[in-house]
């Protein structure tokens, strides 16, 4: 299963830099990230090439962080592609907790990362509908 690194951060200048510094020092490549702002704090979600190493390195520096399983769905990078997968979610009444995506190769491939409650069940549904779910190693070979 693909992994995402969640980091709890105080909402004040300098905190992003501190995370970025740890990642850089450990030679970890960031594929994409999002940041949820909750007022006094924020929750950072990272897709990196070595999630376990990132998690250990951040923990060692006393960051509150966690490794989370997510579904990384391979989609086409073209108009209508998002509509196609969103229709699948709707058809099976799948509730998405959080979602973000990034382009792997322009005009060809993109990855849609979703957080859902029952990962194995939803993985099966999405695969049955003809989508490819990327495992951790596959995600970083792209």
């Amino acid at each position: 299963m693909a992994k995402q690194v969640n980091v709890f951060l105080d909402n004040r200048p300098g905190r992003l830099k501190s995370v970025a510094e740890v990642l850089a020092q450990n030679n970890i490549n960031v594929r994409t990230m999002t940041l949820n702002d909750r007022g006094e704090y924020g929750l950072m979600k990272l897709i990196v090439d070595k999630p376990e190493k990132a998690y250990l390195a951040l923990s060692e520096k006393h960051f509150a962080c966690a490794l989370k399983d997510i579904l990384a769905i391979l989609v086409e990078d073209k108009p209508g592609s998002f509509f196609k997968i969103a229709t699948v979610f709707f058809k099976h009444n799948i509730n998405i907790l959080d979602a973000y995506g990034y382009v792997v190769e322009s005009g060809k491939e993109a990855v849609l990362c979703i957080e859902v409650k029952d990962i194995p069940k939803i993985k099966e549904i999405v695969e049955k509908e003809g989508f490819k779910i990327l495992e951790e190693d596959q995600l970083h070979e792209l």
Partner: protein, 436 residues
């Protein structure tokens, strides 16, 4: 100036007769105290086994002080001096660690309390023709019910509005021509600032007096509220252990609060040595109830600091006047009129394994009201990375705090190790409210 009295004989009694009366009532009080488990032991140790062992007011000094801890340890019935069947009401307040304290009242206790408040109200020049809007919380908190009964005894039309809901307060004031309000200083400032927003001008109100209590405030704040609302403001002091409001109150001269010495013996002591201080010297206020049957308290240490104003008052009342409360001997915080100890907050926070052991209590003013922010650090090992869980944790801490301290705090989650580390509880408190 024409001075009105509720009970002129007692209010202007000469000092010698007052002391005579105090001695008589002190003996009665000792009689009640000897029926409680706490005092029975204590008084016996001091060689007092009957009211007749009290020969003069000086004998009071033979009695050890009573503290808030004594009240907590005596909860719920250790200080009850009458048959429970004769009790008609209780008031409780939370202690420093969440153990409550309780004060029982008989019908006569409540009648006495009500009389004190009637005296206070009349002393400010208010009359039965005034409309009284009580903006203090009702319920276990003594501020609401105390003044309520006093105002009814005077014959005022009472609006038991309770605290909060500013829009409704202003509408009530306007619709019913409220002339006297009972309110905390911070809420008075808040209401003054909201009048314009709700489209109400001072000319549409009939307001003329405000009784301010439950929070310390300065002479400057009094003047500010008087100017903003074009009213007279009278200072009120009380503490739940001594019934609540009505212990000390200002008269029309607004120069210190007359303390009803036929109901309370007031001592001012050096908080360190326990020695009595002279009038004019600042120290800790110590009270002895003189007219309370159900819960007599002897030499109760209030932890409030103030001094007695020497000299006579132009109103001819002989009951000595108390200065404003200048501080506390402990770390109690007063937030929007509610007493809060940092230890109560700590106790709640420590119930949550998801948060670390470091925390900070931050208090500031927001639109004239006190805002309490409790900052906690999340505990890395129990961090799941789930946003919904974090928000739920915040909500749970907030709900628990609200249940424990009766104030609605803002809870903030912070990174482990991000809050300053302190040794003591008091140092964790950052009070950003402007100085009085």
């Amino acid at each position: 100036m024409e001075i009105a009295y509720w009970n002129k004989e007692i209010e202007t009694i000469d000092r010698d007769s007052l002391k005579h009366l105090q001695l008589k009532y002190l003996k009665e009080t000792i009689g009640y105290a000897l029926r409680t488990s706490l005092y029975k032991k204590r008084l016996q140790k001091a060689g007092i086994t009957s009211p007749d062992d009290i020969k003069s007011l000086d004998d009071l000094k033979r009695i050890p002080f009573t503290t808030k801890d004594d009240l907590r340890e005596s909860y719920p019935r250790g200080l009850l001096a009458v048959d429970i069947g004769d009790v008609i009401r209780i008031h409780t307040s939370s202690g420093t660690t969440g153990t409550p304290t309780v004060i029982y009242h008989t019908q006569q206790d409540l009648n006495n309390w009500t009389e004190l408040l009637a005296r206070c109200i009349i002393a400010t020049g208010a009359t039965r023709n005034d409309v009284f809007q009580n903006m203090m919380s009702y319920g276990l908190f003594t501020g609401g019910l105390g003044l309520h009964y006093g105002a009814e005894a005077v014959g005022m039309m009472v609006i038991p509005a309770g605290g909060g809901n500013t829009r409704r307060q202003i509408k009530l004031m306007k619709d019913f021509r409220t002339s006297v309000i009972h309110i905390t200083p911070s809420y008075a400032l808040h209401i003054a600032s909201k009048l314009e927003e709700f489209g109400v001008s001072l000319n549409e109100l009939a307001l003329r007096k405000a009784y301010l209590g439950a929070e310390p405030y300065s002479e400057n704040t009094r003047r500010k509220i008087e100017d903003l609302l074009r009213i007279d403001v009278y200072n009120s002091y009380g503490l739940s252990e001594m019934n609540g409001p009505g212990v000390s109150f200002e008269c029309v001269y607004k120069c210190g609060m007359h303390t009803w010495e036929d109901n309370y013996i007031l001592e001012v002591i050096d908080p360190k040595s326990g020695e009595n201080l002279d009038d004019g010297e600042e120290g800790e206020l110590v009270f002895t109830t003189l007219r309370r049957q159900a819960t007599p308290l002897l030499r109760y240490r209030s932890r409030d600091l103030a001094y007695i104003l020497p000299g006579d008052c132009e109103c001819k009342r002989t009951h000595r006047r108390l200065s404003r409360i200048t501080g506390r001997t402990d770390d109690m915080l007063i937030i929007n009129g509610v007493n809060v100890f940092p230890s109560q907050i700590e106790e709640v926070i420590m119930q949550f394994p998801e948060v670390g052991h470091n925390y900070q209590i931050y208090i500031d003013k927001q639109e004239n009201l006190d805002k309490l922010i409790v900052k906690v650090e999340i505990y890395s090992k129990l961090f799941t990375g789930d946003l919904a869980e974090l928000e739920a944790l915040k909500r749970r801490i907030k709900d628990e705090l609200r249940a424990s301290i009766v104030i609605n705090p803002t809870v903030e989650l912070h990174e482990p190790g991000s809050l300053p580390v302190f040794e003591g509880k008091a140092q964790r408190v950052v009070d950003k409210r402007p100085a009085l």
